[in-house]
């Protein structure tokens, strides 16, 4: 069924003359960056110089790479904090870090990883680089706004780093009052400021994605030919637009309580601390989807290409993103089952949380089925993608158990949760980002990454992730709470395994880091389409021209039409119906 639909669409209505296409584009005035559009008097360079990447540049590709590199820098910082925490946890006593510093590392590790690594890398980085290329646009809808959104990130990270001179924020990435009201006010205020900056950035970015995806597709591209990554970005952006303002509101109220004497969250002055939790989680549950939906999109691009097979269930995967986005807005109380929440609420949110598992499962099964009957090429990108699949199954299963209130009463705020969310964030989001980097590095830089070192990187990361995070589930079940710098001696051996795993993870970054640096400068030159991809970004040069194409491409087939439209599929089972 789906197949016929796609095929029908791909051959209708595709011949538009060049002028017509440009007219359609020109109706959106901000389509191309001013100064870059049309007026040939002002020559622009064929390619950007390295130093252009350090300036306020409005090219979506430059911005995408700026996001990725900045985010990776913050990832290293967050990673170092994690290593320090794991070093502390090698022994039960609090002996390596002062407990106050431990809490500051804990808080900033989580904050850097979420707000300055995964969100900017997945949404800002891949989103900006790929969305216009995939839909056949010359840039994002609002290029200046886009650049402004990016440039909010470096100061946000700088503020967090600077907060360490004042002791840093120490109340976890959740910053629950009253603790956040009475602990290190300066550090906490800086933390809020930083989050509000990245929140603003994400709102600006989201507006841009929605408009670009909905209105700036090359006219020959039908809705069913939009690459799944763009669907995922659409869902992500809508979610961000709904939820981010609520977080910002909560944090601003917190800031007022800390600095201006209000008492929204001060219980002894009539405030209510639970309201903060609702505001916080109304954003922060969707935030976990902000961190995974773009990754799901990346998966849907990488798996078909490296398996050389059409994605299994295009529509199911596209719609399930929207379903996750919708249901995901109504599950936030599963983070508050042990808080001040009435029984009906605990039950309602148990059920809604369980429901999200269904569209998520649809995606997983769709990718697994895409492997079936494929011609899988074991590139590093594919290894990370398949590794992600496997990791995400584990994180997804533990997530379902956490969604049920009666069981969550036992494991809430324990290491079981830490194990769970690292499987989805590290095994999910980070693996996805790595997969994406190996896949699109040639397009971004014009050079190939070294595959041998890529595989070393994958193997170290894969083993390290299991070693570090699997034992944490058992720690939590047995009674080890999270966010502690000291623990019962009975937990020592499992904690040691975790710490050794984390050392392996630390080491795993080294081959990647040097591979990326070296390949960027001296790597083998990449062809325009090294993986035989079918989506539009592979129709331009590597790296793409500044306005992406000399002449906009015409969409003649869907992004996953492997084995169809005259492409050879080896088996005799190729479809008998020919293209109409």
């Amino acid at each position: 069924m789906t197949k016929q639909l796609v095929r029908k669409f791909s051959y209708k209505r595709l011949i538009l003359t060049d002028e017509k296409r440009f007219m359609a584009q020109a109706q959106l005035p901000l389509n191309t960056p001013p100064g870059m559009s049309g007026d040939s008097a002002k020559e622009h360079p064929k390619a950007w110089k390295w130093y252009d990447y350090f300036t306020f540049n409005i090219d979506h590709k430059v911005i995408g790479i700026q996001y990725l590199v900045t985010a990776f820098f913050f990832y290293l910082i967050g990673g170092l904090m994690a290593m320090a925490m794991r070093a502390e946890l090698l022994t039960p006593d609090s002996d390596f870090l002062d407990p106050t510093l431990y809490n500051a590392f804990l808080t900033n590790h989580g904050t850097f990883m979420i707000f300055l690594w995964i969100v900017p890398a997945a949404i800002g980085g891949f989103g900006n680089f790929l969305v216009p290329l995939m839909v056949g646009a010359r840039d994002m809808a609002f290029p200046k706004l886009n650049a402004i959104a990016f440039w909010l990130n470096p100061p946000a990270g700088a503020i967090l780093l600077a907060s360490f001179f004042f002791g840093g924020s120490q109340t976890g990435w959740t910053a629950y009052p009253p603790l956040s009201l009475i602990t290190n006010n300066i550090g906490q205020s800086m933390w809020i400021l930083s989050i509000v900056l990245v929140g603003t950035s994400s709102i600006l970015g989201s507006v841009n994605f929605v408009i670009t995806i909905l209105f700036m597709r090359v006219p020959s591209m039908q809705l069913t030919q939009v690459p799944l990554f763009c669907w995922a970005m659409l869902a992500t952006s809508v979610l961000a637009l709904f939820s981010t303002p609520v977080l910002a509101a909560g944090l601003v109220l917190l800031l007022f309580d800390i600095n201006f004497g209000t008492s929204f969250f001060k219980p002894d002055a009539g405030g209510n601390v639970i309201i903060y939790q609702h505001l916080f989680w109304f954003y922060s549950h969707p935030a976990v989807y902000l961190m995974i939906l773009p990754i799901f999109g990346i998966m849907s691009e990488i798996i078909p290409v490296h398996a050389k097979k059409p994605i299994f269930g295009y529509k199911a995967i596209a719609y399930s993103s929207l379903a996750i986005c919708f249901v995901g807005l109504f599950v936030w109380v599963h983070h508050m089952f042990t808080s001040g929440t009435p029984p009906w609420m605990r039950m309602f949110f148990t059920i809604s949380t369980l429901i999200v598992a269904v569209p998520t499962g649809v995606k997983i099964f769709g990718w697994v089925a895409t492997l079936w009957g494929g011609k899988i090429r074991y590139t590093t990108a594919m290894l990370f993608a398949i590794g992600l699949l496997s990791m995400f199954v584990i994180g997804g299963i533990s997530g379902v158990t956490l969604g049920t209130a009666p069981f969550d009463l036992h494991v809430h705020d324990t290491y079981y949760v830490v194990g769970h969310f690292h499987y989805v964030l590290f095994g999910g989001s980070v693996f996805g980002i790595y997969a994406g980097i190996y896949h699109w590095f040639p397009k971004m830089t014009g050079r190939m990454l070294n595959e041998t070192w890529g595989k070393v990187h994958f193997i170290l990361t894969f083993i390290g992730t299991h070693l570090t995070f699997l034992p944490m589930h058992e720690l939590g079940l047995q009674g080890m709470p999270r966010r502690v710098a000291m623990y019962d001696p009975q937990f020592i051996s499992l904690n040691q395994i975790c710490t050794f795993g984390s050392i392996l993870l630390g080491i795993s970054v080294i081959p990647f880091f040097f591979n990326a640096l070296w390949s960027w400068m001296y790597g083998e030159k990449a062809s325009d389409n090294p993986w035989d991809g079918l989506s539009l970004e592979w129709t331009t040069s590597s790296p793409p021209l500044i306005e992406n194409w000399e002449v906009l491409p015409v969409v003649t087939h869907g992004p996953y039409d492997y084995g169809m439209n005259g492409r050879s599929a080896t088996t005799d089972k190729a479809p008998s119906e020919s293209v109409s």
Partner: protein
């Protein structure tokens, strides 16, 4: 399109996986011992989830592994894979099965939650217990169940304070005990970084929780400074202690022993050291513990009439309790000075 081959082999594999998963569900030994009436309920539920999880894990990971090996690209083959874009019945199948599983789990969780006493966190009369720690509670906003978000946000506190029945969040009476009063009530106060247990019926205050085995115990939980969370892993029960909002936990301990009370909500630098002990003992031992402490504390209070405990710095006041509270004197000096309010001066 393609039919899934339901060969004998898959049938056998299915049966083997089913039995193996059932076995794992019963024999995983992942959880600590069970010491409350609720623990077997939670564990039974967890075991079911482990069974389903094992089966799912094997099937999905197995599929990934098998496909990944079987469908790797042959050398020098640059053609595409099979042009299959979907299969409606297969897609319906794998949407429906998880949907059924989660509906089942959803119903089961509601059932387990009900059996644990989750639906009766409201049946406790406040008025009867105005001793000690509860005085802090009495000032707290009543929590309109239906609209906790809006109702409490601004100035509605004074009106609700006089409400005779305080609805509290947490775990209440199990269906069998519903309507009955608990046989022992303990007021639990959390503060950076200690737990204080007050027995309103006997006036005993302690840094350890002693409860008689087999008796229905109700904990009235509150916090004076920041949010803490009361967890006894062997009870499988957890409830936040929230400043400004009293909560409760009601349980029957079914096993004698000495269990850790763990604070699970980040509450400051020494959060990790915020531990206490839950000692479950025979009713006789429990009674004699109460009497001993009554005598001891009466003598103490004679000595301390002159000094109002609230006049002392927190650390000095708490110093005698440090051993019982399971924290060292060092961490006491880090206590938040203004945090300990009148609730301590029973």
């Amino acid at each position: 399109m393609k039919q899934i081959p339901v060969s004998l082999l898959t049938l056998v594999a299915g049966v083997v996986i089913a039995f193996f998963s059932l076995w794992v569900g019963q024999n995983h030994h992942l959880l600590p011992e069970q010491a409350s009436e609720q623990a077997p309920l939670v564990d039974g539920f967890f075991n079911v989830m482990v069974t389903i999880a094992t089966a799912l894990f094997i099937v999905v990971q197995g599929a990934i592994l098998i496909f990944a090996i079987k469908y790797r690209k042959p050398k020098d083959d640059d053609s595409d894979g099979l042009p299959i874009e979907g299969n409606f019945s297969v897609e319906i199948f794998w949407t429906a099965i998880p949907a059924l599983i989660v509906i089942g789990l959803g119903i089961y969780s509601v059932e387990v939650y009900r059996a644990m006493g989750g639906f009766d966190p409201a049946g406790y009369e406040m008025i009867a217990h105005h001793h000690g720690a509860s005085s802090a509670i009495a000032k707290m906003p009543g929590s309109a169940m239906a609209a906790p978000i809006i109702a409490d946000s601004e100035g509605t506190i004074s009106e609700t304070a006089s409400a005779p029945v305080e609805k509290k969040y947490g775990i209440g009476a199990t269906p069998e005990e519903e309507g009955k009063a608990a046989s022992l009530v303990v007021d639990v106060t959390a503060m950076q970084y200690a737990w204080i247990f007050n027995y309103p019926d006997s006036g005993v205050t302690s840094g350890e929780l002693h409860v008689p085995v087999g008796k229905d115990v109700l904990l009235n939980i509150t916090a004076v400074d920041v949010i803490h969370s009361f967890w006894v892993p062997q009870f499988r029960l957890k409830q936040d202690a929230i400043p400004g909002q009293p909560t409760q936990l009601r349980f029957v301990a079914i096993k004698e022993g000495d269990f850790p009370i763990v604070c699970t909500e980040l509450c400051g630098s020494y959060h990790g050291g915020m531990r206490a002990r839950a000692i479950v003992e025979t009713p006789e031992k429990f009674d004699s513990w109460i009497t001993e402490n009554q005598v001891a504390q009466q003598q103490e209070s004679i000595q301390t009439v002159a000094t109002n405990p609230t006049d002392l710095p927190t650390s000095e006041f708490l110093a005698p309790y440090t051993k019982e509270m399971g924290i060292d004197a060092h961490s006491l000096t880090h206590l938040h000075p203004g945090a300990i309010v009148s609730s301590m001066s029973n």
